[in-house]
């Protein structure tokens, strides 16, 4: 089918940030994840854990706890603020200073030993009162479902407060460890108050303890680990409990009857999972799986096989390492790459090669042209580089900056465009037109602002507004090669297509149940090709406002089982200008070229057939080949981009490299090492 020159890039030092807190919203099936760098991400649990929303963090913003109240998400951080998030526009709504808070929920435990109670109003939260002040720090808190009692984990003890009176009802002392750890305080890292009055605690001695809140006595204690038990989580119907340890293990307890048929139930330790290399800082049990996250920065979804009836993509262990957004952008026509780090941007020029063979001699090494630090404390939300490589734009939650680069033979000029139109104050997504003459900036309420760019500066042209009136933020933009069309996708799974000539909404693609993960407009046919989180693909003819025949064939025949079972979303759609029937896709583990002129594979055909085809002759290949040409040479792909000289840029971030940059995990004795 063809050869591609590939620039394999591994110098993008992207480091995912460690996971600090998890909060599961059972009603909306959303999982909120807070990271060490202060960013909050929303995953859609029933849509293959697609990362729907990302709220970037800021410098010095450590989140200690996350909590849903209805559909509202709150976090509490070490800097003493309680933050509510605007999930529609994917930004921080407001922050209230609650004075040195490490922990939790509108009832907030403070480092100074107070538990503060807040009332959640319609649009704000309001401080109500303090409970009795304690001598030691409050590390963890948990409400009883009745709302009248609170359990608080502290140093060496657990206290139960009556909310009404604000007085402590019981004090339960947690044992310190034996031996040398005797002198160290026992930190109750986590408490869970069950509705039947049982309090579960996890502490730094490695014990999971069950207490009775009536008598304030210990019912049972399980020694889970030699290290700390850092996180606890109970399932919604309170029959299962998971504990995360600093060894990277998740231990499950289940509330089962000891004698068959009798009602006499007890908490029994049942399963242990080890999917992490580092501390687990947060666990959550969702309907069918245990989700855990920790210092190794990966979100692990371990399905509980007893709750799953059919084997499907949902029954497989899922590890999410990288964001489901693009962090690398390529200037197609000038061989430049823009790397988006949380706090800075890097612009690189690709190397050059000469010679022939499977591995070419690198004549000129890639060079770093620019290191652009973000002004202010906010982290970058989105960025883009224009196809010609002359414009760079990035946006944080509070500001948007546009830069112009100018290359001469030996000279490299770089300056910021100072006077920006007011609409360009912040963007959810940014995109340049293919001739680099316009910048599209996705704004609030699913609208897109158009700004024309020229030597002299930039000028506001107009705003595109969807007909539907959706308020969700746009996370994908795609402009057509001829400058006629612009497509936008938002978190409501809506895809709007605008005519750039008339600056009017042209049409809306029928809404599909899964989120769009990548899309692109075909340069010759002007068909919009979309990839969905559930691995489906659609091709929609913009001019005819309907799905293409090929797309219908795909839907009718269905995609191959192995294609559907992949567990990372496709993150980019490209087209090969030399061969209009080729669509290039990639996910974290593979690069795929779909040849629309070839027959689709059915479940009986060999899907990954590149090795077979390689061994066949030219004539035999024809009868064996099918539309999906999957190349598995690359691993841990962050980005694949086709640049104008027909070569591919593959940016890899090997997980081994990430692992080496992580802090050392707790030392464990391993046998035979």
């Amino acid at each position: 089918m063809g050869e591609f020159k590939v620039h394999r890039v591994r110098f993008f030092d992207y480091m995912p940030s460690g996971i600090r807190a998890l909060a599961f919203n059972g009603d909306t099936e959303r999982m909120a994840v807070a990271r060490m760098d202060g960013s909050v991400e929303i995953f859609h649990c029933s849509d293959r854990f697609f990362q729907e929303k990302i709220i970037p963090g800021r410098e010095q913003c450590g989140i200690e706890g996350l909590s849903w109240v209805g559909e509202r998400l709150f976090s509490a951080g070490l800097n003493g603020g309680i933050t509510e998030y605007d999930l529609t526009n994917q930004k921080v709504k407001y922050t209230i200073d609650a004075y040195k808070i490490p922990w939790y929920t509108f009832l907030v435990g403070c480092e100074d030993g107070t538990v503060k109670l807040f009332e959640v109003n319609e649009d704000k939260i309001q401080f109500e009162r303090n409970l009795d002040r304690q001598k030691s720090r409050i590390v963890s808190l948990s409400w009883h479902t009745s709302g009248s009692k609170i359990a608080a984990g502290m140093m060496d003890m657990i206290q139960i407060f009556n909310v009404e009176t604000g007085h402590s009802i019981h004090r339960m002392l947690a044992d310190r460890g034996v031996g040398t750890s005797r002198s160290k305080e026992c930190v109750v890292w986590s408490v869970v108050y069950l509705s039947d009055g049982t309090i579960v605690s996890g502490d730094s001695v490695g014990m999971v303890k069950l207490w009775d809140d009536q008598t304030g006595t210990l019912i049972k204690s399980h020694n889970v680990t030699k290290c700390d038990v850092l996180a606890l989580s109970v399932s919604q119907n309170e029959d299962s409990l998971v504990a995360g340890t600093s060894e990277g293990t998740v231990v499950q307890f289940q509330f089962v009857s000891m004698v068959l048929g009798k009602d006499d139930k007890e908490w029994v330790r049942t399963r242990t999972f080890k999917n992490h290399t580092h501390d687990i800082r947060a666990v959550a049990e969702i309907t069918t799986a245990v989700v855990s996250g920790g210092m190794d920065a990966q979100l692990v979804v371990k399905p509980l096989l007893d709750k799953i009836e059919v084997r499907s993509a949902a029954s497989a262990l899922r590890k999410i390492h990288f964001p489901h957004r693009r962090l690398v952008f390529c200037a197609r026509n000038s061989g430049l790459m823009l790397f988006q780090y949380p706090g800075h941007l890097e612009l690189w020029r690709l190397g050059e090669s000469e010679g022939k063979g499977s591995s070419l001699f690198v004549k000129r090494n890639p060079e770093k042209l620019l290191h652009l630090k973000v002004k202010g404390e906010d982290h970058i939300r989105c960025s883009a580089v224009s196809p010609c490589g002359e414009w760079i734009v990035y946006s944080t939650a509070s500001s948007l900056r546009l830069y112009r680069l100018h290359y001469q033979r030996f000279l490299f000029l770089f300056f910021q465009i100072s006077k920006l139109p007011k609409v360009l104050s912040s963007a959810n997504q940014l995109c340049f037109s293919s001739d680099s003459s316009h910048l599209f900036s996705a704004s609030t309420q699913s609208s897109v602002h158009i700004v024309s760019l020229s030597q002299s500066g930039c000028k506001f042209v107009g705003t595109l507004k969807p007909k539907s009136g959706s308020h969700q933020a746009i996370h994908l933009l795609a402009a057509s090669e001829d400058g006629e069309w612009l497509a936008s996708a938002n978190s409501d799974h809506e895809v709007h297509i605008y005519n750039l000539q008339t600056r009017k909404a042209h049409c809306t693609v029928p809404v599909y149940s899964s989120a769009v993960t990548a899309m692109g407009i075909h340069p010759t046919t002007n068909c919009l090709f979309m990839m969905y989180a559930d691995q489906q693909m659609c091709e929609y003819s913009i001019e005819q406002k309907q799905y293409t025949d090929w797309s219908r064939t795909v839907q009718r025949k269905g995609l191959h089982r192995l294609w559907m079972e992949r567990d990372t979303p496709c993150l980019n759609v490209m087209f090969n200008p030399q061969n209009p029937s080729h669509v290039i896709l990639h996910d974290t583990y593979m690069l795929c070229i779909i040849d629309q002129s070839l027959p689709l594979p059915d479940d009986k055909t060999q899907f990954y057939n590149q090795l077979t085809l390689k061994s066949l002759t030219e004539d035999q290949r024809k009868s064996h080949s099918h539309a999906f040409k999957v190349c598995k040479t690359f691993k841990d792909i962050l980005c694949v981009e086709l640049i104008s000289d027909q070569s591919l840029v593959v940016v890899e971030r090997p997980l081994e490299d990430v692992a080496t940059q992580l802090p050392a995990p707790i030392k464990q004795k391993k046998f035979a090492t």
Partner: protein
């Protein structure tokens, strides 16, 4: 085996100064591998190109009155010849300068002893006073003063240069009032170490030296007039600085040459390779008084490998360059090409390692020889002199007495003679017995031979005629014992024996009294066959691949086609089989055996092949593992012989109608094996691919690659 080929005369040797042991000044390696530089004691230096049996020469003459002081050498670095005339004049010339007078010359300040040159390094000039200079530094300032290394009356007797790993070492031996020393001059850093040769009463100075470099050591071999060849090992790089004074040179006896009655005057030895030494001037052990022999000895096994008679007077000179020996004798300098293959015995030891039991047995005499000779050198020499007189007197009855008397006398002799003496004595006795048996048809003392064999001090080289005598007399018992004990039987003799065994009818064979062990093995082997037949097949359901593949070929005559169920009866008698087993276990080298195997007739080959196939089938059915026997041929020995036989007789077998089935069966078998190996190869290949695909290539941070999608 080493071989001395037909030599020829290179040049005449000039008039000899009386009493000196020097025929010509020297033979040195020339510029090319087949060029030698002969320096005559008269005034000529000649470059010979020695190729095949021809040679051509370029002469260079000196003017009347000039004397050549040392052999001319060739400087391979500058492609120039160097010679010293009149003790102090160094002359350097190129190949095309015929007239030496026009050549470059320089007069140095001290008497030069010798110019030493090794390939690809600067020549070194050794002065009579012991000082050493590189030629180029000397020519740069010829008049530089020379330090006296040696004392006044110390005279250098011999010197050489050894080169390895770009490091030069100069060795020279000196004499001073009857005391002999060896100096080792190393360069970079310059160190001079003095060693003292051990002297013993009755031992004069070494008469000939030969130094070679092996590994990181210099092996210095030196010959005494009493026939002892000693070896000393010197480290190439010395750790000592020479300040520790004179050290005694540790030595080990590596060869004791037999001496004749006459007193020796001269002789020379040169190392050919690790195991071989060429010696000139010492008598042939079985050729009597005539001493003028060039012999190649194997030092590992103390055996004479080849010899050649040299006419005329022998000098204490012998050179060896690129596979040719240069021997001055009489009035000529002869060139004798030689070839030292790894000796048959050495190869044999390698081959026999497969059968560990037999090895330990057959090697015993070798080990005892060396251990004995190493431990007590002086004693050996003493004994030797004693023995040579006694032997003759004790066994003087051999040429005349009746068989019974001789046998009794030999028995008595063996009992009486101490173990240490027996080693040499047994050979002499055997030789005498054989020589009488050859002349007297009625005389054949079998018991005496067996007794001598049982001492295990005999080997083929000691008494070569014994085995052929036994064959002539059809004494297969003796043959069998000899085969078991001798580990150095030449391939030609092995083949001759094989031929005799194969041509002897089975009936005649069965009457022969053979070693019980081997007969029992054969019995068991044939019985195992009938037993497994009764059981009706293989024990573990083994099905040969040939079976399956053959069915598809011609399903009609299925019974006929199974080569491995057929012919499980032994094609030869038990005793013949036992003898053939002995032949299979002899040591041989393929190259030498092959031409002799061609002497076998076609029926003999077929019978032998059938027997080998029978053995192989038995072995592949694991029959032999149940049989306890001391000496059994190994499966690789069997296969080797099959291959050799087929190689030697393939064309004949291919056309002989009676061999058709046999060859066909063997072909079948080979085909199935090839198929099996092809399949194994495929598996190996795919496993390799699996392995390599697992290794992810590490290309660092950035690479530009080309991927191909299909």
């Amino acid at each position: 085996m080493a071989t001395l080929y037909e030599g020829y005369t290179l040049c005449g040797v000039g008039p000899v100064q009386n009493s000196s042991n020097i025929g010509i000044l020297g033979v040195e390696q020339g510029g090319d591998i087949d060029h030698v530089l002969v320096t005559d004691t008269s005034r000529s230096i000649t470059v010979y190109k020695v190729k095949g049996v021809t040679s051509y020469a370029i002469n260079t003459f000196l003017k009347q009155g000039q004397i050549i002081s040392c052999p001319a050498v060739f400087n391979t670095q500058s492609q120039e010849y160097v010679v010293v005339t009149d003790d102090r004049v160094v002359r350097v010339w190129k190949e095309d300068d015929v007239n030496l007078e026009k050549a470059f010359k320089a007069t140095v300040s001290a008497d030069v002893l010798k110019v030493l040159s090794a390939t690809d390094s600067e020549p070194v000039v050794l002065f009579c006073c012991g000082a050493v200079r590189f030629l180029d530094s000397l020519l740069a300032s010829p008049q530089q003063p020379m330090e006296d290394v040696l004392t006044e009356d110390e005279i250098i007797r011999w010197s050489t240069i050894v080169k390895a790993e770009h490091q030069l070492v100069i060795l020279f031996s000196t004499e001073q009032r009857g005391e002999h020393c060896l100096y080792v001059q190393r360069f970079n850093p310059n160190t001079l170490v003095k060693h003292r040769f051990e002297t013993e009463p009755g031992l004069s100075a070494p008469i000939s030296f030969s130094a070679t470099c092996r590994g990181s050591n210099i092996h210095l071999l030196y010959l005494y007039l009493n026939g002892s060849v000693y070896e000393s090992v010197l480290p190439f790089r010395s750790s000592s600085t020479g300040a520790e004074g004179v050290q005694a040179l540790s030595r080990s006896l590596c060869l004791s040459l037999p001496l004749g009655e006459e007193k020796l005057m001269s002789g020379a030895a040169v190392v050919l390779d690790e195991a071989h030494v060429a010696v000139v001037g010492f008598p042939h052990p079985s050729a009597g008084a005539c001493k003028d022999y060039l012999c190649i000895w194997n030092t590992h096994f103390q055996t004479l490998q080849a010899s050649k008679e040299m006419a005329g007077r022998i000098y204490s000179q012998l050179w060896c360059y690129s596979g040719k020996l240069y021997v001055p004798h009489g009035k000529m300098l002869s060139v004798i090409p030689f070839d030292c293959q790894k000796s048959s015995l050495a190869a044999a030891m390698g081959k026999q390692k497969q059968t560990s039991q037999s090895e330990s047995k057959s090697c015993r005499f070798v080990t005892s020889w060396t251990s004995q000779s190493c431990t007590d050198v002086t004693q050996t020499t003493e004994i030797k002199s004693r023995m040579s007189t006694r032997n003759v007197s004790d066994l003087s009855i051999i040429p005349t007495s009746a068989v019974e008397d001789v046998q009794a006398e030999v028995g008595e002799f063996i009992r009486r003679t101490p173990q240490a003496d027996l080693q040499l004595a047994a050979g002499r006795v055997a030789l005498e017995l054989v020589s009488r048996s050859q002349t007297d048809a009625n005389f054949y003392p079998q018991c005496a031979f067996l007794l001598l064999l049982e001492t295990r001090y005999l080997c083929y080289s000691v008494c070569p005629e014994l085995l052929s005598l036994a064959m002539v007399k059809k004494d297969f018992h003796l043959c069998q014992i000899a085969f078991q004990i001798f580990s150095d039987i030449p391939e030609a003799v092995t083949c001759a024996c094989l031929k005799t065994i194969l041509s002897t009818p089975d009936l005649e064979m069965e009457t022969v009294n053979l070693d019980m062990d081997s007969v029992i093995f054969m019995k068991e082997l044939t019985q195992a066959h009938s037993r497994s037949d009764e059981e009706g097949g293989q024990l573990n359901g083994f099905c040969h691949p040939a079976l399956e593949s053959d069915v598809s070929d011609t399903p009609s005559n299925k019974l006929q086609r199974d080569p491995f169920a057929l012919d499980m009866s032994c094609p030869v008698g038990l005793h013949k089989g036992a003898l053939l087993n002995e032949v299979l276990q002899t040591a041989y080298s393929d190259r030498s055996l092959l031409p002799h195997l061609k002497d076998l007739t076609v029926p003999q080959v077929i019978v032998f092949l059938q027997y080998l196939r029978f053995l192989y089938l038995k072995y592949s059915h694991d029959a032999h593992k149940q049989i306890r026997a001391l000496r059994t041929p190994s499966i690789s020995q069997i296969i080797d012989w099959v291959c050799l036989l087929l190689d030697a007789h393939f064309t004949v077998l291919a056309v002989a109608p009676e061999a058709k089935r046999l060859v066909f069966d063997l072909h079948k078998f080979v085909r199935s094996q090839v198929k099996l190996y092809a399949e194994l190869g495929k598996i190996e290949g795919s496993l390799q691919v699996l392995k390599s695909s697992k290794q992810s290539e590490d290309f660092g941070m950035y690479a530009i690659q080309v991927i191909e999608l299909f």
